[in-house]
Symmetry: C2
Subunit: 584 residues, 2 copies
């Protein structure tokens, strides 16, 4: 062992002890006759002292030559510090060094190893091994481990079994794009990496496994949006002999436990909201309910005048911005610019100032009188001093736009507090969604999701209206998990594949094993999958998942540290019976 | 919830309770006026009863029509059984059924869902979801989960952090063949799936993470030998600021804890043996020390007569088979046939019968007298009633052959008891091994393994003699884990790459990031990786890892259940800039 103690544990109780420490030279101050060095390891920082009176000149010389991030092993005596540092646990003591050994030298690191570093994202990723030495990054990784352990222990104690499902599976064109893996032993054939262990967990239910979970890597070859990773981690769960209610209760329990255990916050019972209600009240199927600013629909009180823009709109809808009347004309113009950005895509915004004297001043005073505006204030819950922002247009579009505005304003107003936790269930998702591009319905969740049994008939006439036994768990405006009750009989599954445009042959080729399994006594079952990366980030009070992944990839799917992906040897390609086919 | 209780928990205490159960029809006995059904779920079996007197004729009819593996939900009253079954926990009671609902029908399964099934390996794998319903398979998976949880809790309690390392990494021609993953976004480039997280865990040590572990899938595109899987699971571990002794103590602790926690057996301190000693005493670097039959080298006492086969041999070596004198001439001939099989490859065997009267009778009595044979008996530890088996030839070959014979005989003699656990450390492995084919040295462990510092000079003159700080942990004749102290400075690493035939350019292209990392204060570090599949199998008293994997692949790397790998769409290939290049 290179050390008797870590750099985080020595206190007054150790005074006069001889100790051996090992770690990195974090900082050094050289006053000529006296040298102080902060020695750092995973557990903390301990101050070393060398001085002319008590330290040999040889050792003084050695200490002078230590550079930042040198790895050293020292032996010395714990002594009381003259000037104490109350900010660190070891702040009462320092080590009078008697022996010093350089275990490894270091070049000057390309950025400082401090809580707030001068290294930019690119540099930090290239030298991720140095970035991980920084407290916030290391603490995020330790935090992730704690969350994962809490999940595993909670579920294990409740009879869930973690079962490892395979990574080399079969490609299915449904859903996102698969990463594929050429098989050398089966010429011209490919494995695919799982987008989720969906079919395997269902087969485990058919196999009587009853309560399954797995913390597992999943893969999607998508064009990466910001903060998406080609490989990501799911807490994947499934239960048999359960109804939706049982799943909601079980995983509400897990989530409540995590927030309590990890953050010490008791969030109580989770509210539930249907998808329709969430869209109506928040314009969003993953509403952030830490704050109000609920949507007020204004069709009834805004479409009776000569304002043709509103009259032509499918939906007129507004929100009240608390204290927003203090915004200057310039502030509001900027807000309008913001919602007109292509990412949001609104054409314009009507606003109403709610003055302190109870009067209203709007951008459409030409069309609406005080009574109209008072009705708008009522519908949006606006109070004196607020600003009402109103958008209009196609229902779905305008909701999405107003939701973006609501979130942006809440962020600016500091209403999205990272230490507050507001979970909820969103239930009754539509089974299908219409895809304009392919002119057909797609499964909103996935093709194994059960329609609400009482609505199966409706599939023939109004497929878009059919709701599914599908649910999302939402935390602070983020979907942290989602799932459904599954189809468990061959007929319904075949019908669903048919609706989704699979020929019976395609369905058989891709999911024949699942359809076969349903013939041998499949129990009713359902499940959920949480995105661990995001869950950990939100519990950690942040929203960027990359900060909670040890070795993340950039937006082009590259690992810039190891420089992957990369070209491979021609012989490797030949063994796989493949040729590159690069477009000129 | 489809049930108030599981099928494993009802006892006399529940008599007269109304309960609802759900599960599979395991068996039914129909006496006409009375029907018994064994209802099965993950937790056990509960007997249902229907009889003419107490059951409606409609319900009797329903019960008659239930087939094997139908999924049903029943409600009924717990009553005391007339004839109890002491073999199962629910054997005192049965359920008088009042309601029965078929949740799903079942075709007749292709094999019986019993502890000992009539299904062959192929059928069981194709219908693995039915195979998992069988107690032994399900219990193996639950057992695996318990072992993994015990590992995680043990290491977490000791400050180890589980860190997820990436699955999409870079291909390196060193070692076994990689599975590669074409990148769509980086045309003509490939990721590789990790053979182990080796370099990442070393980078975590450079990053100050100090104590890392991960239970993680790894991948090797090898021609599969029996009981090898293309994807397998490792318990991967690494520590910084440690010497070999610290690693041995830490993971001896883990292994001892597992055997105690999981099997209730206290194995005490692990013996340690050098690689040289293990080869000399057992002809094997993973000796099974549950039994004796140690090698006796006979050169000194067998090369002084006219027997030219022995005189020409590099090594003459024997083992004593306890009670082997009872073997008939025919038995011995069969044994000789066995060692002559190409898998073992010995040319012949000399044997000595140790008679009860203290005399010896050998197959080489023409050359050796009683005194010679008495010396052989002494060297091999043979007693009256034993049989001495002697092989001769090139040292390495003959040791391997005799080791195979030793293991086979021990198996036949019932000396390899599955409830006995004999762990040991094998240490001081050679750093390099000579490869006849490529006529160069290969890293025996991997290119990051540290030579014994005091032997580095020897590399220049006798590279084959240099020992490494490398160790294996062996349990019951299986290597369950192995590791080493790593090189942590750039110079030694560059020298090793040079010895292993990398040009500086190749080394930089493949491991540049690691060499770079070593420039920034890499601490001394080392680690170990356990094969979880094998560890679990051995703790479970078995040797076939496939029985402890939920969805294993066959020897051609195929998943016969989902039929993977498979052809993919041409468009998928085009997107990846690839073409098939099938040899005619």
């Amino acid at each position: 062992m290179y050390r008797s103690h870590t750099c985080g544990e020595l206190t007054k109780n150790h005074i006069n002890n001889t100790v051996t420490l090992a770690g990195w030279v974090h900082k050094s101050r050289d006053k000529g006759f006296m040298i102080w060095i902060d020695l750092r390891d995973r557990y903390g920082i301990t101050q070393l002292i060398f001085d002319e009176e008590r330290t040999s000149s040889e050792l003084m010389e050695q200490a002078k030559n230590l550079g930042r991030e040198f790895v050293v092993q020292i032996t010395g005596t714990v002594i009381e510090r003259a000037s104490k540092n109350p900010n660190i646990p070891t702040g009462d003591i320092e080590i009078l060094v008697s022996e010093l050994k350089v275990l490894n030298a270091s070049l000057t690191p390309p950025f400082t190893i401090e809580d707030t570093t001068d290294g930019g994202e690119d540099l930090r990723m290239k030298y991720r091994y140095l970035d991980i030495r920084r407290n916030p990054v290391r603490e995020n990784l330790v935090f992730r481990h704690k969350v994962a352990m809490a999940v595993r222990n909670y579920l294990s104690e409740r009879d869930f079994v973690e079962v490892e499902t395979p990574y080399l599976i079969k490609s299915t064109p449904e859903g996102a794009r698969d990463f594929v893996v050429p098989s050398r032993m089966n010429e011209g054939q490919f494995y695919a990496l799982p987008q989720s262990p969906q079919t395997f967990k269902q087969l485990l239910m058919v196999g009587g496994m009853d309560k399954y979970f797995q913390i597992v890597k999943c893969f999607r070859d998508e064009d990466l949006r910001a903060d998406r990773q080609p490989e990501f981690t799911q807490i994947d769960c499934e239960m048999a002999f359960v109804e939706q209610e049982d799943i909601l209760n079980t995983f509400e329990g897990l989530t409540r436990h995590l927030i309590k255990e990890i953050k010490g916050v008791d969030v109580g019972e989770f509210p539930r909201m249907t998808y329709d209600e969430a869209m109506k009240r928040y314009g969003n199927d993953k509403p952030d309910i830490r704050f109000g600013m609920e949507f007020g629909e204004l069709n009834d009180v805004a479409q009776h005048k000569e304002f043709t823009i509103f009259n032509a709109a499918e939906l007129v809808v507004g929100i009240a911005v608390p204290g927003g009347n203090s915004y200057s004309r310039k502030d509001i113009d900027k807000l309008i610019d913001w919602i007109r950005r292509p990412q949001v895509g609104a054409l314009g915004m009507v606003y109403v100032r709610c003055n302190d004297d109870g009067t209203y001043k709007s951008s459409v005073d030409k069309f609406y009188d005080q009574e109209d505006l008072a009705n708008w204030a009522k519908a949006t819950g606006a109070k004196k001093g607020d600003l009402i922002c109103v958008l209009s247009g196609d229902t779905h579009k305008v909701r999405t736009q107003l939701s973006a505005l609501r979130m942006e304003l809440a962020e600016r107003l500091g209403l999205r507090k990272s230490d507050e936790f507001a979970p909820l269930w969103v239930v009754d998702f539509p089974l299908l969604e219409w895809d304009e591009e392919t002119k057909r319905y797609h499964a909103m969740h996935h093709p194994f999701t059960s329609p609400k049994p009482e609505q199966i008939e409706l599939l023939k006439t109004n497929p878009g209206d059919v709701k599914a036994n599908a649910y999302d768990i939402v935390l602070n405006g983020n979907e942290i998990g989602g799932g459904s009750i599954r189809i468990h009989d061959k007929e319904t599954q075949a019908m669903m594949f048919d609706y989704l445009g699979f020929t019976p042959e395609e369905a058989k080729a891709q999911f024949g094993f699942l359809m076969d399994a349903f013939e041998y006594g499949a129990p009713p079952h359902g499940g959920i999958a949480f995105g661990l990366d995001r869950l950990v980030a939100i519990l950690g009070g942040q929203e960027t998942i990359r900060d909670f992944i040890a070795f993340p990839k950039n937006n082009s799917g590259r690992d810039v540290m190891i420089d992957a992906p990369a070209a491979i040897d021609t012989t490797q390609l030949q063994e796989l019976s493949l040729k590159l086919d690069i477009k000129a």
